[in-house]
């Protein structure tokens, strides 16, 4: 049966049963609303990330990197601020932070552990001294050097600092612990920090650092606002000479939420004004308001269907999807203008317009359906939402709406002046010129995979991040190499092997990791055996004899260095994660040795995120299949590649599906090509302008581009049908009003300050803004067959 006849018959069937029809529809919509209320919304950006594959794993590991989920507070004094005032400020602020929002606050190692750390490290000398260290000692500790080192210890004992160093000198008269202090550098997560008076101070002593943990998820905008408010409250305890700055992902979240809230009113205001203007200029009659109710009616229904399929539904998806369904107003508009256009019966008018409306909807549904195969759960949900919503909307528009709209008497005039032979060529010349210019710029389009780039980064926050980096080094932006193991020692072993290889390839002082001070137990036991052999051997004997002679000369007691001599012979403790935690280094150990939910452990090695270091790391990692490199840059590249891949895949697939559908509809190549003119023009102009203005393509542009395809093809189908005389002349007006409503809804996003919303606005404005004139002017110029 022909689709036009079916819709005409449906109209006639329900004509006498309008009450029943409306009751059934209302029941459906109420059921949808009830389903919507049971939805479990997930306010999480995770839905916009792949849920499988390497990018998903990279994001997961990136989130576990040190400082990724921490709150960093930098307290700064003026040049003449005494250190005591700064330290006092740190203590005051630490005490003032709300423990419910900042349950763990670290402002430096605790005093007890600081005093016991060095003697304990000295006790680990046998376990941590490597073969290379012993080679160094063998060459370095000749007779003169032994005398010099002991004389230095003697001098220190005579000086005012002697009381603090006496215990260490007894255990280590030759200052071998300097080997370990060098290794301790690899524990330094904050490159420019120094431990002073039990606090983390900057090199210039004018800034102090507080690192806090919080239960507030970084994606929780309301929680982020509470957290920031609590910080501002706590900050008031500081004297005027001190300023405190908080940097964490929460500030981005709060800034984005604030911006989106602000944008919402602005965009809504612009949209409503534009829609009101469209209504006044083109529709005028009150029943036309039903046309605008179509998309509103299907939002809950579509959301309920998504909720029935997915356990958790992304709030971003539903929010964006609801806006997206605004496009379904087009179907109602075509029905409205069709009914308003001629003297035929409503059943005949609805039947005539049904074919292009259904095919238009089908192309849009098909374009969105390709997103069902996306790696991004958010895009899959959006696809289902759009497919369901548009299907429901088109059914409402064709089956229910005609019973609510009045039938018009007038024949609508063309919205454009007749494109006679004289106007045809300038139109085509202009169009071809535009396509050439746009096509020339398309290759310049770049892809931005950075999530931060899609969010709002206030200049104040960027400045604070910059200041934090200058004062404390790149605390939050280093690349991380994960070495995985079945247990903690296994991970440490993998991390140790990797660290050794990396240390040969790059500057070791730039590496951060546990390997130098926390090698696996087998390595430590081997070190101990080697250490004892060294001191029992010829070299050790030579050094100890020189020590004896010099000690005698300086007046040391015979048993002065008994603890050291004992350590060269007897057993010594092993370094373990627990022991480091007990000595005040819990934060470092927990940051660099992470247990994963699957029971495995990861030992982290941090490297500067520079081209040279990343290249060296990639080279080394070819021999370490169990290790993974993750970094913001790598993630950005991977996301960029995924977006590019998605764009090509989805646009290509959507394009093929659309061509097939249009071919089925029109069959003749000329008509098929003509119907594709708006979409081709829209995409080319959109990409061309983006390339010219150096606006990168991001995740949201991909979705918006699919919208351009779906709608652009609709315009083409309607105009080709109109040119072929299959539907009323008023179609032109319907296409124009449809396009204008889309621009009013989506194009209005261009005024938004939020980059993601703005980028959608730009894409739609460019794509639809060029597809409409292409449909209204180029198709009639190229495809001139008219109805008799």
């Amino acid at each position: 049966m022909d689709i036009s006849n079916l819709i005409s018959r449906l109209y006639r069937y329900w004509e006498g049963r309008r009450r029943l029809l409306l009751t059934v529809v209302i029941l459906f919509l109420v059921a949808g609303a009830l389903g919507f209320l049971t939805l479990r919304m997930q306010e999480n950006i995770a839905a916009m990330l792949p849920d499988s594959g390497p990018v998903a794993e990279t994001f997961y590991l990136l989130e576990k990197a040190p400082f990724a989920r921490k709150v960093v507070i930098s307290i700064e004094g003026k040049e003449d601020t005494p250190q005591a005032v700064l330290v006092d400020g740190v203590e005051r602020l630490t005490a003032a932070l709300d423990p419910a929002l900042f349950p763990v606050v670290i402002n430096g190692p605790d005093g007890d552990s600081q005093q016991t750390l060095l003697p304990w490290l000295v006790s680990l000398l046998p376990s941590l001294t490597t073969e290379e260290d012993l080679r160094f000692l063998r060459e370095e500790l000749h007779g003169e050097e032994v005398s010099r080192r002991l004389a230095e210890s003697y001098r220190q004992l005579l000086g005012p600092e002697g009381w603090a160093l006496k215990g260490i000198i007894r255990q280590d008269p030759l200052g071998l612990h300097r080997l370990l202090l060098r290794k301790l550098r690899s524990f330094n997560l904050v490159p420019e920090a120094r431990f002073v008076a039990g606090h983390l101070l900057s090199k210039d002593g004018q800034s102090a650092l507080i690192i806090a943990e919080t239960p507030v998820a970084i994606t929780d905008s309301a929680g982020a606002e509470r957290l920031l408010a609590a910080f501002v409250d706590a900050r008031s305890v500081l004297p005027e000479t001190l300023t405190a700055t908080l940097v964490s992902g929460h500030r981005y979240t709060a800034a984005n939420a604030r911006t989106i809230r602000g944008d919402l009113w602005l965009v809504l205001g612009c949209s409503i004004l534009a829609l009101a203007a469209i209504f006044v200029f083109f529709l005028r009659r009150p029943p036309a308001i039903y046309v605008f109710l179509v998309p509103l009616s299907v939002v809950c229904l579509a959301a309920a269907v998504v909720g029935a399929v997915y356990r958790e539904v992304s709030a971003v998806t539903i929010g964006f999807g609801a806006v997206l369904l605004g496009i379904s107003v087009d179907y109602g508009l075509h029905v409205y203008f069709a009914l308003n256009s001629g003297a035929e019966s409503p059943a005949a008018l609805v039947g005539k317009v049904a074919r292009p409306v259904l095919f238009g909807a089908l192309t849009t549904i098909s374009a969105f359906a390709v997103l069902l195969f996306s790696d991004l759960p958010g895009q899959r949900q959006l696809a289902l939402f759009a497919v369901t919503g548009i299907t429901a909307a088109v059914l409402l528009a064709l089956v229910v709406l005609p019973h609510l709209l009045p039938r018009g008497e007038k024949t609508a005039s063309s919205v454009r002046r007749k494109t006679g032979g004289g106007a045809r060529f300038p139109v085509l010349a202009l169009w071809v010129g535009l396509l050439v210019l746009a096509g020339w710029q398309v290759p310049k389009v770049t892809v931005d995979g950075e999530l931060a780039g899609m969010g709002m980064i206030p200049s104040e926050l960027a400045a604070d991040e910059g200041r934090l980096r200058r004062t404390w080094g790149d605390v939050r932006g280093r690349a991380v190499i994960w070495s995985l193991g079945a247990d903690a020692d296994g991970a440490l072993a993998a991390g140790h092997r990797l660290y050794q290889r990396l240390a040969m390839a790059v500057e070791e002082q730039d590496l951060v990791g546990l390997a130098p001070l926390l090698p696996p137990l087998a390595v430590q036991e081997n070190n101990q055996r080697r250490w004892r052999r060294f001191w029992a051997g010829e070299d050790g004997d030579r050094i100890l004899s020189a020590l004896d002679r010099q000690a005698e000369a300086l007046g040391f007691a015979p048993q002065a260095f008994a603890p050291f001599i004992e350590r060269t012979r007897g057993p010594s403790p092993l370094a373990t994660p627990e022991a480091f935690r007990a000595r005040g280094l819990r934060e470092v150990v927990d940051a660099l040795l992470v247990s994963l939910p699957d029971g495995r452990f990861g030992a982290l090695t941090l490297i500067p995120e520079t081209k040279a270091y990343l290249a060296a790391a990639h080279q080394v990692l070819t021999d370490f299949p169990e290790s993974r490199l993750v970094s913001q840059g790598y993630f950005r590249t991977a996301m960029g590649a995924a977006i590019q891949n998605d764009f090509v895949r989805f646009i290509g697939f959507a394009g093929v599906v659309v061509v097939i559908l249009v071919t089925i509809l029109f069959r003749r190549p000329a008509k098929v090509c003509a119907s594709l003119i708006p979409v081709a023009t829209g995409l080319l102009v959109m990409l061309g302008v983006m390339g010219f203005c150096a606006w990168p393509l991001n995740l949201f542009n991909v979705i918006a581009a699919i919208l351009v395809i779906g709608l652009g093809v609709d315009y083409g189908i309607f105009m080709v049908c109109r040119q072929g005389g299959e539907i009323a002349q008023a179609t032109e007006q319907a296409v124009l009003v449809s396009g204008l409503t889309t621009l009013a809804g989506f194009g209005a996003l261009v005024v938004a300050r939020h980059p993601a919303l703005h980028s959608i606005g730009v894409t739609v404005l460019l794509g639809i803004g060029s597809a409409i004139p292409a449909a209204l002017y180029v198709i009639p110029a190229l495809y001139r067959k008219r109805a008799p």
Binding site: Q115, A151, G162, R194, V196
Partner: protein, 207 residues
């Protein structure tokens, strides 16, 4: 009768014994006076004799040295015998010398925590900055004329090493005459200052 007499004596003893507040008040007054006197000191130079009694050595280690201070934050501490070693602090920067090469090494106090503590303590004593010292030590008044203070380190301030400090002030209260640093385990150091000169011009070359 005897019981009544004992009760009266006990009552008298309780009444006449100065309570904690009285002692505290007395200490505060003494510290305030020392602070006032120290505030008149612009420069201070002194020779000193140091005796170290350490179990690490067979015998007591004697040493001679010099100390110079200039308000607000310059000080020089040096040993002249049996070895030459010392340091100068000016604000947040310092330099020290000591090895046989005679080279001087500059340092930043923020990066040398131990030197920061030493310099901070020396400055606090010279300036009689008891507010700061009380953050690190419990202070007790051992004798009022001349003033002798006993300091017991609080948690975190050398409490693993230091047992107590005894500080003997000059009769006029303007400077320290002797310091005894008693460490846990019985080691101790005694530093006796002599030839102390107050508010005499000190050349820049010293700092």
């Amino acid at each position: 009768m005897i019981r009544r007499l004992l009760s009266v004596l006990l009552l008298l003893a309780l009444t006449l014994r100065p309570g904690p507040d009285a002692w505290a008040s007395s200490l505060d007054e003494v510290l305030a006076e020392l602070r006032r006197l120290a505030s008149t000191v612009q420069t201070l130079s002194s020779e000193f004799h140091q005796e170290k009694y350490l179990a690490l050595f067979k015998d007591m280690l004697p040493a001679e040295g010099r100390f110079h201070y200039r308000r607000p934050d310059s000080l020089r501490w040096e040993l002249t015998s049996p070895i030459t070693t010392g340091f100068v602090i000016q604000g947040k920067r310092g330099r020290r010398w000591g090895d046989d090469s005679g080279r001087e090494e500059s340092f930043d106090i923020a990066r040398q925590p131990l030197m920061g503590i030493v310099a901070g303590q020396l400055l606090a004593w010279t300036q009689a900055d008891f507010e700061r010292l009380r953050r690190d030590f419990e202070i007790f008044l051992e004798n009022r004329t001349p003033v002798v203070l006993r300091l017991v380190p609080k948690k975190g301030m050398g409490d693993g090493f230091l047992e107590r400090l005894l500080v003997f002030f000059a009769p006029d209260g303007r400077h320290v005459l002797r310091i005894e640093v008693h460490e846990q385990g019985g080691d101790f150091t005694r530093i006796t200052f002599h030839d102390t000169r107050i508010n005499e011009p000190l050349g820049d070359h010293l700092f």
